[in-house]
Structures are given as structure tokens and as C-alpha cells.
Chain length 417, copies 2
């Protein structure tokens, strides 16, 4: 197994100003490629410390990835350290990166300054992978005890460079091929799901493994991996196991690739020519925000009403005052009336609604964390109640994700009739 270390350079991480998301993204990609990350280290912008840490990690791991410390300003001393520890005698200009530097600066209406030209200079012993998204090149040093990759620190540049880096790793390392397939599941806790899948999981071939990767907003990502590549029939055997898994999951599965609920719901709407809307109380706009975070959502999402005030529920959504008075605001009846109301108002095919108590305080009838979710469509409406036990922020997230999933199931029921 190939081992890797990730080294992050930058004072801004050590003082807690910036969260290190690069290491997570890189670690996840490496792990799925069959490279085992054994250590992550964050250090400051100190030349001696950078040199010592990189050399130490090159003793520990065959692959070392360092991110950060490559900007055009004087704080960034990483490149000089890389030249020194790689035994480079001098620098060379990389024409491909220089073209990119010019293209990017001109695109921003800026002149090319000497400090920008320096960015296309790399230590003599470096191979270069052109950074398509920024001015600092990605450098590879193969003449070390292991191989050292240097990435820019800007998150979208670092993450954007991952595919090219993985290609380089695969081309140079004796990696055993690993197959991965993802299945997205929503609606069961990890423990309940694992109990449900145990009989199947226990009979998985010895070269296959199932991982549970939970996330509050997207549910559980199930990742089936196949580590055996000798027989040549791995793809077929994976497909056979995936079919069994999908049959066991039924509608709990919302995507058979890495995805999220809003994308899955959007696909159902788009593929079936359906329009959506929502009426939110306790989720306060988060459902609409999630739905519209998907590019192209303007093709099927008509709009939403956040009715925080009771008067808005009555006047805009047309929820009858006596329904609120009789059942309380947090009730099945109000959830149903809100969904029906916004469906009528926007003319959408389907609608979803929420009314509940995200916190910090409950009311005389319901504890904090209670939510009623309503859905409405051409065949009528339906509601469900959940009680979560989290803080306000997390409750809002759980309410919104549950609402998207409830709407998804409601539409699928109609489509499968």
C-alpha cells in the first residue's frame, strides 16, 4: 500500500483564521485512488520548519503533498525551500505556466508584474503540472527519497488540481486498481441501516468492502469498493452486488452516484417535466436555498414563500385562521394547508412545506426539534412529523433535508402508480 503525508503551509491555519479544507478534499481523493494518508501536518511560513517537516515526511511516506506558500508575495518562501531540498542548482521558466499567468492577469484587466513572472519560474529539478485556475504552478519533485507534490493553497485551485495530480500519481506509482461505487441513502440512521444490510454485507466476496459515510445534509453515502483485480470480472461482480444492495434499499436510495438530495430531486423534476415550490416556516428559506443551489434549477423551481408570521401564512398562503387556531401552528393540518397554498399560489405541480420549532425554545405543545412536513401534488396532500434533538442550526438542516426527501418519495409514489 502506498502511504502519503499531507503538509499544509500557512500561518493563517495555525491562528485558526482559515479552516483547512484542502487536506480533506485531497485525502478523500487519494483514499479512493488506493493511496493511504497516514499523516496530515500544518505548519507556519517558516523556511527551516518547512524544510525539516517535508524531509521528515518524505522518510515516512512514498508520497508527500504540500499545499500553500506559493503566492506572489514575500511571505511565501516555500519555493526557495523546495529548490534547496530538491538539490536544484537554479530555476527554469515554465512556458506553459507563463502563458497561463498572462492569460489570467489579462482576463482580470491587470498588467503582468515581475512578481507574477517569478511565479512561472520553478526549481530546475521540478516537473510542472500547469495550474489551470491560477498563477502558481503545481510542482513535482521525483528525485527525493519519495515524490513531493507542491500545490497552491487557494482552495479552488488546490481542489481543481486534484484530478491532474491523481493522473500523475497513477502513472508513476504501482497502485493496485480499486473500484468504487457510491450509493446515496436518506431516511435511516447509520445503525439501523447497518442492521438492515448485515445479511447481505456478511456475504460480500472477500475482495469487496462497504463503507458508511454519514453527513447530516446528504444522509449516508455507501461506498462499495472492490480491491481484487486478478480475475478480470470485477466490474460484473460489483454490478451484481450493487443490484442486490439496491433491491434491499428500495426508495431509501436516492442516487447511485455521489450526489445530494436537491440534485436528485431536481433530476426527477427535470426528467418528468414537473415544477416545484415550497412554503417554509421553521426552515426559514433553507429548502429554497438548497433547491436553487443546483445549476439549472430555474427550469423546474417556481418559487417559495417563507411565512414566519402567522399573518403571512393566512394572507399569502391562504391557510385558514381557524385551522391555525384549532390545531396550532405546528400541526399536520397547517403543514398540509401551507403546501396546498403555495402550490395554488405558484401553480407548481408539487409543493413541500415545513412548520416546526428549530429552537432555542419550544412552545407549550411541542418540544424543540419538532417539525411537521407537508407535501401537495395533483393527487392531494400528505404530512409527516419528526422530532430531532439538536441545536437550532442543525435542526434547520435536518428539517430541510427531511423535507426534500419526503417530497422526493411523494413524487416517486405518484410516478410509480
Amino acid at each position: 500500500m502506498i502511504h502519503a503525508s499531507i503538509v499544509t503551509i500557512g500561518d493563517e491555519i495555525l491562528i485558526g483564521q482559515v479552516l483547512d479544507t484542502n487536506s480533506q478534499q485531497l485525502a478523500r481523493a487519494l483514499e479512493e485512488t488506493g493511496v493511504h494518508v497516514v499523516r496530515m501536518v500544518s505548519i507556519g511560513d517558516d523556511g527551516e520548519e518547512i524544510a525539516q517537516t517535508l524531509l521528515q515526511e518524505l522518510q515516512r511516506s512514498q508520497l508527500v503533498f504540500c499545499t500553500g506558500g506559493l503566492g506572489p508575495t514575500k511571505d511565501d518562501i516555500t519555493k526557495a525551500v523546495l529548490a534547496r531540498i530538491s538539490g536544484s542548482k537554479g530555476y527554469k521558466k515554465h512556458e506553459g505556466q507563463m502563458e497561463k499567468v498572462i492569460e489570467i492577469l489579462h482576463g482580470r484587466g491587470l498588467d503582468v508584474l515581475p512578481c507574477n513572472e517569478n511565479q512561472a519560474m520553478v526549481p530546475e529539478k521540478a516537473d510542472v503540472i500547469v495550474n489551470q485556475l491560477g498563477t502558481a504552478p503545481i510542482m513535482v519533485f521525483r528525485n527525493m527519497p519519495g515524490t513531493l507534490y507542491s500545490l497552491p493553497g487557494v482552495p479552488h485551485e488546490a481542489v481543481g488540481a486534484i484530478p491532474a495530480i491523481l493522473d500523475d500519481v497513477k502513472a508513476h506509482q504501482p497502485l493496485s486498481q480499486i473500484l468504487h461505487r457510491n450509493i446515496m441513502v436518506y431516511g435511516l440512521a447509520e445503525s439501523a441501516l447497518s442492521e438492515k444490510l448485515a445479511p447481505w454485507e456478511d456475504h460480500l466476496p472477500a475482495d469487496m468492502h462497504l463503507a458508511y459515510l454519514p453527513n447530516p445534509l446528504t444522509g449516508i453515502r455507501l461506498r462499495l469498493s472492490c480491491y481484487g483485480t486478478a480475475s478480470g470480472d470485477e466490474v460484473q461482480r460489483m454490478e451484481a452486488e450493487l443490484s442486490r444492495l439496491k433491491a434491499l434499499l428500495g426508495p431509501l436510495m436516492y442516487a447511485d452516484e455521489d450526489s445530494d438530495l436537491e440534485t436528485a430531486l431536481g433530476r426527477i423534476a427535470r426528467e418528468n417535466g414537473l415544477t416545484l415550490s415550497c412554503a417554509e416556516s421553521c426552515t426559514g428559506g433553507m429548502i429554497a436555498h438548497m433547491i436553487t443551489s443546483v445549476p439549472g434549477s430555474s427550469g423546474y423551481f417556481l418559487g417559495s414563500v417563507t411565512s414566519y408570521a402567522i399573518a403571512v401564512k393566512e394572507k399569502v398562503l391562504g391557510v385558514p385562521g381557524e385551522v391555525i387556531e384549532k390545531n396550532g401552528v405546528v400541526s399536520s393540518e397547517v403543514a398540509a394547508a401551507m403546501a396546498e397554498g403555495v402550490r395554488r399560489l405558484t401553480g407548481s405541480d408539487y409543493a413541500v412545506s415545513t412548520t416546526g420549532l428549530a429552537g432555542p425554545s419550544g412552545d407549550e405543545f411541542n418540544p424543540v426539534g419538532t417539525v411537521w412536513i407537508g407535501v401537495a401534488g395533483p393527487r392531494g396532500s400528505k404530512t409527516v412529523k419528526y422530532v430531532y434533538k439538536n441545536d437550532r442550526k442543525r435542526n434547520i438542516e435536518r428539517f430541510a433535508a427531511s423535507a426534500l426527501n419526503f417530497l422526493r418519495l411523494f413524487i416517486l409514489e405518484d410516478l410509480n402508480r
Copy 2:
């Protein structure tokens, strides 16, 4: 200066499943206490690796904080390692933590199992800080080359333990007292702000320092720190500098403590008895989501309409069809009509609106990243246009934050008349 290392234990971080937010929170708190974090390390659940890493960091730094590896399951071997490297002969039961274990499990309707009882057992040489939020105690080992703190890995428990840990650090370390004050600013880029403040900043007393801490959703946090404590008049001298800073900033400042735009806007609304609403197109619900993320927002936020479809803009918000036709959907006129429309619909004192193109594609009239923001109030309406150059997700965030700030300034103008 006291140096610290933070060591995170857990395979879930190394495979990229979980983002390490604990280290950031802890680093920020330590830095503001005057402890300098020199290294963060993440390692797996391997006993030998844990022991070696902790001993190495104890050579490097006077304070070492390790998080994770303390759950009730067998994966968690950290406590045995801590016993070994601290030279503990055995374990002792901590009654205070045991009471907390019983209280927490009973609160969840669970019985106390032997593995839970074990959680209140600590190595003989450990001092204990009771974990008020979970079953695993916080342990302090003072008999090492430096001092080793062991925290649980569950984020809300780790973050919840920070104040008690800082108290312990302050009680045992010769820290020079540092004073910090935060000022929140929105509406200027870091470079422009730094130019504006340069004349004042250049004349700061030698023992004071200003840090710029930018964040896309909250703007720039300015942190003024005073490191001198000899003269005894630091608080007054800080106040004098803060007054000068505030005068320079004017309405660019939205809070004189660590805060965010939605909280600042909420405070203005609450203190002046004003109600708010919003009409969102390109922000798709995010403004409402931000406003309602503040506890107590139901006291001043009436509701919102997300009008993704033109028909919803016309029918629900009452934007005249000819205004859209004449000016285009992304226009000053439509932004104003949307804000006025939702203000009329909800009966709120003030309203804010957005119409723009978050991406991925622009239209024939406007590039991606264009937004018109409208505000409406008792004295009429006003609009502003911004063009940002980010991806869809980031554009939506910038649009929403800018809209909250524009509404804040609009209300302040009226209040200051």
C-alpha cells in the same frame, strides 16, 4: 511566548470523511489567549503512532492538545497510550465525571453499561476537567516534559470544553495578558480597507496591533490587540484607539464585537421595533435562511417570497409585466418593484430584494455574477448593482451578504435622519 501543538486522532479525518474543525476552534481560542500554535498534526487510531507523536510534540511545545480517540468503543486506544506515556501505574475513577455519565445516559433513557463506567476511569496521573457535554472526561497530564491536554473528538464537546481549558492554561502558565477587541466591517475589500486605515494604523502605540480577518459571508473582522500590560492603562488606551477607528469606519462598521450581518441587522430591527421581509430571485432563499438562523428572528422577520419564475414575480409580488419587459428581469426597476411588492404583501416596515445571475451562465444583457439589490421602506426605495466574479455557490453568498448590508445601511439612514 508559550508554544502549543494540536494533535488530532482519528482515521475518519485521514480518509477525508470528516473535516477537522476542532483544531481551528482551539487554535483561534489559544491564539487570542496569547498561546502560539506552531503545529497541527492529524494521525490515525494507532497506539504506537499516537505515543510517538505526542512525545515528539511535547518536546517541541510547552502545551500539547490532543482531541479524539476517547469514545466508548474498542477503536479508541488513546487512554491506554496516555496512561503509558504519563507513567501512570493504574487507573482511578473520577466521581464528578461518573455523575455526569449517569446524568447524560439517563437523560437519553439509556442504561449505564460497563463500557460507559470505564469512561469515568482515568490514568492515575491525570487531572480531570469534567466534560459537561459528554461522557469522556477532559484529562490534563502535568508531569510530562510539557503539559498534555486530552479532549474528546465530538466537535460540540471539544468546542464546549475550550473555556474551561483556557482557564486551566491561564492558571498554570506565565502568560502575558493580551487584550483583544473585535470590530466587524462590511463593504470594502481588504486592500482598500487597509489603505483607508493606514494613517491611523501607522500611529498605533508599539504595544498594539491590528489584524485583518476576512470571511466571505461576514466581511472583515478587525482585531485590535494590546500586548503591553505594564502601565495599567491598557483598557483606556485601547478605548481611545477604538474610538478613532470607529470614527474612521463610520457605517462600514456593523458591530463592535465578533458578530455577523444577520445578527447586526436583527439587533437594529429589534431595538427599533421594525419588521423585515425579503423577495429573492438569484439568492433563492439564502437571505431568509440567514435572517432566520438568528434565534429570536421570529420577533421581527415576517417572511419572504422566492420568486424564481417570472409569473411569481408578477402574481405574488405584483411586479408589473411591462416593467420586466421594458427593463429585463435583472434590472434596477425590477429589484425595486420586488422589494416594494414584498413589503406591501407582508406589511413589513422594511424589505430587501435581489435579482441577478448567480451562474453558471449569464444572459444576453448581463454577465454571470451580476446582481441588482433593492430595498424598500416607509420613505421609498433604492437599488444598487454589484458584479462579482465567483462560482454559483460563492456568488449566492456574496449577493446575500451584500443585500443584508444594503438593507442595514438603508435603515440606519432613516434612523439617523
